[in-house]
Amino acid sequence: MRRPISFAALFGVLGLAFTLAATMPGQRAQAQMFEPETFTLDNGLKVVVVTNHRAPVVTQMLWYKAGSADDPQGLSGMAHIAEHMMFKGTERFPDDTFSRTVSRLGGRENAFTARDYTGYFQSVASEHLEVVMEMEADRMKNTTFTQEQFDNELLVVLEERFQRVDNNPSAQLNEVANATLHKHHPYGTPIIGWESEIRAATPDDVRAFHEEWYAPDNAVLIVAGDITAEEVRPLAEEHYGGIEPSGIGERQRLQEPPHIAPRRVEMESPRVQQPSLSIQYLAPSYRTAEDHEAYALQVLNEILGGGQTSRFYRALVIDQGIAAAAGSWYSAHSWDETSFGFYGSPRPGVEVEDIEAALRAEIRKLLDEGVSEAEVEDAQQRLRANSVYARDDVSTAARVIGRAVSSGQSVADVEAWPERVARITAEDVDAVARQVLREPASVTAVLKSEPTS
């Protein structure tokens, strides 16, 4: 991302994966999520429009199917650096003309880089959509920058790394844990990149990355708000339609070999005042799952970690009274294999080892006894209700659809989400739990405080 708004708390992150999807309880036979309209330009640019007339404002989001997992070997952080360099201007709109224009229009903008995609967005009054569309389309192929701009921006990216990761012991450990879970697959490399490789990046590396990935047939345009597909189509044709497709094929990535031994990383630091622990497992995503496993994992995650009435919170925080926090996380939105994880953090005076033992006991109990029909129904009902709230903010639709399409799903998959979650049974959940929660496929990460002498 180009600029931080705030540091995401670890536990806040996990909920987000779920706030997608669905329709209101019992509303229609064919439940739908966001009712988007979709069309594709001749050059392959996919366009999705979500109409909401509540206010005269629109959001344009352009998602490229290229993220940190597409960084060239030895050039970690390249997708993210390439994102930063997209704000340096073009011949037609030099330097910060784009940003100044958005600001002057009373709009907001930003960009973000993830493992599987890079996205750019602006929110403006609907009458200004064409202005930002023209500029966004222009920079797809025409971004330019000087050596000096590049050198300065690399320093900015290094400061971003220090701020996000190196200043924060738990972020440092997460980086290590992640590299341990994905030992061979590029998901093991941090999105922001390793410091030495950020320092070694060159302007030509960025240009090559843009050249390879930034093309209409490798992008998805989402327009959400006070506008219809009929209104968007001519604008998109005019501004994006003339850009040559690259003929890019589906991305090919290294695959992670099967894990045959559990792994463990521990970090002790005098900077740590609150210890914590996580246990995570490689898990299928929507795209890599053979069938409905990703949906079953979402239900499992809701049962185990969905708030204060979930199993893990109830066991560790309330009944045993040993943890300050406990729960689980899972995000199905991933091109390749993702992770399912558990976390816990002790109350003052409790050892982190006791939290680990309690988490493992709960995992064992789950594998031995399974989940009940009632738990599954409760979880499904909560997921369904959350999906109603997800419709309240039209940006959520843009985000959910963009993420889905950029990580290998279709718009139809997003719309079918409520139906697919509703079909999951207790047997499905038990089966996927036993498939995924295998000790040899796990990585345990422990963060401990080291007493200052």
């Binding site: 993830a114 403006v124 971003e160 300050a324 309240d392």
Partner: protein
């Protein structure tokens, strides 16, 4: 997990950045705000929105953590963590199950000057939601187990945040400016004060602070005024008319003008916060100062500090300023993070820009750009019923008037280039900046020793 945070950050931005309400340039299309008064005389402001079967409510009681008793900092915050942990006949888990099973979201939060609550429910569950809200506000149980659990969670959170240079810096900054005023204490309390708080303190808090006449309520979503009225009585009818104790806090003058404190921490990047006196929310110059803030370091990629500290020199990833008007003081503050060796250089650039804007003033174009941003971007805040309810609460809390959404654009539009120049000259004082740096900051001379441990 670290990786996911990138997505979440994006989420955080997006949440701010979306549709609803007022046009940008051009004439403002104001929200239709209705004043609804229940049979028992409880007032709420409502913006109807029937697009989805959702109702959002956001409210605040005047008076917050600044009223916590001496030695018991954190009472309001602990209360906010306990109101949904058992009330009436329901114990903690029963209350949480009632919320979860009916998809009712409820949260409470303590700030220095107010105690806030928000609630979101599906339309079909609104009666139950109001009932649970009333129970939480008037009959919280404060069971021993729940109190101990919440205290331990707050202490764990305090420990976790104490690892972060940002938290250390902002808490030290507050103490430096307000050594003898409650604004100098953290809202959540400290490791020393939180264990001292008793269930009796919490009951006293609820019994003396919540009342109808220090309450403001914003509502948005799928509900009509006639439906809202009985809900208001159900949720708030049991509250006393007036608070049992005064909620007055003394005004505070920021201290330590021109002082610099350096707190040593073993991190590669220092975090620096700085600030001076600002203007209150009800000051007639508030909007002119907002324009000045936007130009200097406010919320866009076009600010002077963004350009000179980040774009031209690559010294930081984040640099920003913001207005921090409180009920009893006002600050104009900012912050940045930079590698230890560059702290002195970055602070010099900040100071120089601070001084240059005071001496030379902004250009006419900068003022016009800032105004059009401040007018147009407001609509983007109103992205959901929850955000609209929150804006309605804030307008009432600051006594801005029910026509504020219509007048806001005019108030900003009326700021002239001369006004902005005058305010920049009168207000900005680079020599008065108080600075706190946390890290192994180089090139910054402390004028005072670092505070003792225990931040």
């Amino acid at each position: 997990m670290a990786l996911r945070s990138y997505l979440t950050m994006a989420g955080a931005v997006l949440a701010l950045a979306v549709p609803l309400a007022l046009g940008a340039a051009g004439p403002a299309r104001a929200l239709d705000v209705q004043r609804v008064v229940s049979e028992q005389g409880i007032e709420a402001w409502l913006v109807e929105d029937h697009a989805n079967p959702i109702i959002s409510m956001n409210l605040a009681f005047r008076g917050g953590a600044a009223l916590d008793p001496e030695g018991k900092a954190g009472v309001a915050n602990l209360a906010s963590a306990l109101l949904d942990q058992g009330a009436g006949d329901l114990d903690s888990q029963e209350f949480q199950e009632a919320l979860a099973q009916n998809a009712i979201k409820m949260s409470f939060s303590a700030r220095q000057d107010s105690f806030g609550a928000s609630m979101q429910t599906l339309r079909e569950n609104r009666d139950l939601a109001a009932e649970l809200f009333a129970l939480a506000l008037t009959e919280p149980r404060f069971d021993e187990g729940a109190v101990e659990r919440r205290k331990s969670q707050i202490l764990a959170g305090i420990a976790q945040r104490a690892e972060r240079p940002q938290t250390i810096a902002s808490q030290a900054f507050a103490r430096l400016l307000f050594p003898d005023h409650p604004y100098g204490r953290p809202t959540e309390g400290t490791r020393e004060t939180v264990p001292e708080i008793t269930a009796e303190d919490l009951r006293d808090f609820v019994g003396t602070r919540f009342s109808r006449d220090n309450l403001v309520i914003g509502v948005s979503g799928a509900i009509e005024p006639e439906e809202l009225k009985p809900l208001l009585d159900q949720a708030f009818g049991a509250l006393p008319e007036a608070p049992a104790r005064s909620v007055d806090v003394a005004d505070a003058q920021p201290q330590a003008a021109g002082e610099t404190v350096v707190i040593e921490r073993n991190v590669p990047q220092s975090w620096v916060v700085f600030g001076q006196e600002g203007v209150r929310r009800d000051d007639p110059d508030y909007y002119a100062v907002s324009v000045v803030n936007h130009i200097l370091g406010g919320g866009s990629f076009a600010s002077r500090l963004y350009k000179h500290v980040r774009e031209d020199r690559g010294l930081v990833y984040s640099v920003y300023t913001y207005l921090d008007p409180r009920e009893h003081t006002a600050l104009f503050s900012g912050g940045f993070g930079t590698s230890n060796a560059q702290v002195g250089e970055a602070m010099t650039v900040v100071r120089d820009e601070w001084r240059r804007l005071a001496e030379e003033g902004p250009s006419e174009e900068e003022v016009e750009d800032a105004k059009s941003y401040l007018i147009g971007s407001f609509a983007l805040q109103l992205s959901s019923t929850g955000n609209i309810a929150s804006v309605l609460r804030a307008i009432q809390f600051h006594d801005l008037g029910i026509d504020h959404l219509e007048r806001r654009s005019e108030l900003i539009e009326s700021v002239s280039h001369e006004d902005a120049k005058r305010l920049a000259a009168e207000l900005l004082n680079a020599d008065s900046l108080r600075i706190v740096a946390v890290g192994q900051a180089e090139g910054l001379e402390p004028t005072r020793p670092a505070p003792e441990e225990g931040i």
